[in-house]
Assembly symmetry: C2
Homo-oligomer: 199 residues x 2
C-alpha cells in the first residue's frame, strides 16, 4: 500500500504542484483561511478531493506548503564567510516587491494561525522550525570562525529579534518591511546583540 | 456649545468610566471588534448612543481608550537611576496574569487593528506613540548619564526590538510573554544593542 501511495504521489509533476499551490494562494487571498475549503481547491484545480487529502493530508498542511512554495531555500544555503555578510545576503533574497506580496499574504493568515491549532502546528513544523535550524547553522559557522561567543545570550533570542524586524511595520503600519530597513536593523540590533562589531 | 459639551463630559465619574470600559472589553472578548456595535455598548452600559459618541467620538476611539484603561502609566514614570534598572522595572509593572489577560485581548484585536484604518490610527496615536515618547525620555536619561551614546543606531529600533519580545510568543505559540522572558530578552538583546554592558 505504501508503495502504491508513493507511486501515486510521485505522479504529480513539479509544474502541476506549482499550479496547485498558486491556486491555493489565490483562494487564500480571495476568501481567507477559514472560508477556504478543500472542495473549492479541488474545483479550482480540477483535482479530486481524495487526491488532495492523499497528497497533503489536510487543509492546514496544504496551505502551509503553498505559503512555503517559492520562498528561498534554507538560510544556511548562504555562506559568504562572515556573519554580517550572511545576514545581509539573507535580507535581500526577496526583493521589496516579493516582501510586500508575502507580507500581505502572511497578514491575511496571521489571525488564522493564531486561532487554528492545526494551522499553527503545521506552520511551526514546516516553516518556523526548519528556518530556526538553518539559522542556527549560520550562527554556528560564526561561532566556529570566532565571530560570536558560544555562550552569547542573544543566541537564544534570534527568533524574537527577527520577528521584531519583520512584524513591526506589518502589525502597526500595515506595511511590509523593506530590505533597507531589515539591513539597518541587522547592523543596529542583531549583530551588536551577538557581540559582532559592525563599525 | 463647547462649554456645554465640556460640562456634560465632566459629569461622567471615574467609576462610571471604568465600568464602561470594562463593559467594552467584555463585549470585545465576546464578539470581537468587527461585530461590536455602539448599540450593544449603549445597551450593555445603559447609556445613550449620543452620550457615547459625544464622549468618545466613535467605536475605534472608545475601544482604544478601553484597551488603554487600567494599563500602567507612561514608561518614564519609572526612574531607578540606571537603564537596566528602568527596563527591568518596566518589565514587571504587569504581572504574568495581567500580561496573559492583556495579551489575549490584544491577540483578539490584532487582526482588527490590521484591517481597520480607524482603529489602527487610534491605536497608534493613543497607545503606541505616547509609549514611544515616554520610552525616549527613559533613553534620554540614559544618554544624559553617559550609559548610552547619543548616536547609537539601536535607538531608532526600540519599537521593533520590543515588539519582537512581546509578539513572538503571542504570534507563534499563542502564549503571552512572561516577566522572566522579557527580562532575559532585555539583558541579552536590548541592552547590548544599546551598548550597555550587563555583565
Amino acid at each position: 500500500m505504501a508503495e502504491v501511495a508513493a507511486a501515486r504521489r510521485s505522479r504529480i509533476t513539479p509544474e502541476r504542484e506549482a499550479e496547485l499551490y498558486a491556486a491555493v494562494l489565490d483562494l487564500l487571498r480571495e476568501v481567507g483561511y477559514d472560508a477556504l475549503t478543500m472542495d473549492a481547491v479541488a474545483t479550482r484545480t480540477r483535482s479530486s478531493k481524495a487526491t488532495l487529502y492523499r497528497q497533503w493530508g489536510g487543509k492546514a498542511e496544504l496551505v502551509v506548503k503553498a505559503l512555503k512554495h517559492g520562498k528561498p531555500g534554507p538560510a544556511d544555503e548562504v555562506d559568504t564567510g562572515s556573519l554580517r555578510g550572511d545576514m545581509h545576503a539573507l535580507a535581500i533574497r526577496e526583493d521589496d516587491c516579493e516582501m510586500e506580496r508575502n507580507s500581505a499574504l502572511m497578514r491575511g493568515v496571521a489571525m488564522a494561525i493564531h486561532n487554528n491549532e492545526d494551522l499553527r502546528g503545521a506552520f511551526r513544523t514546516q516553516v518556523v522550525e526548519p528556518e530556526i535550524v538553518a539559522f542556527r547553522r549560520v550562527l554556528q559557522r560564526a561561532i566556529d570562525r570566532g565571530e560570536v561567543r558560544a555562550d552569547c545570550p542573544a543566541l537564544d533570542f534570534l527568533l524574537p529579534m527577527l520577528v521584531g524586524a519583520f512584524a513591526t511595520r506589518t502589525l502597526l503600519e500595515a506595511q511590509p518591511p523593506t530590505q533597507a530597513f531589515i539591513q539597518s536593523y541587522i547592523d543596529a540590533v542583531v549583530l551588536p546583540a551577538l557581540g559582532v562589531r559592525t563599525t
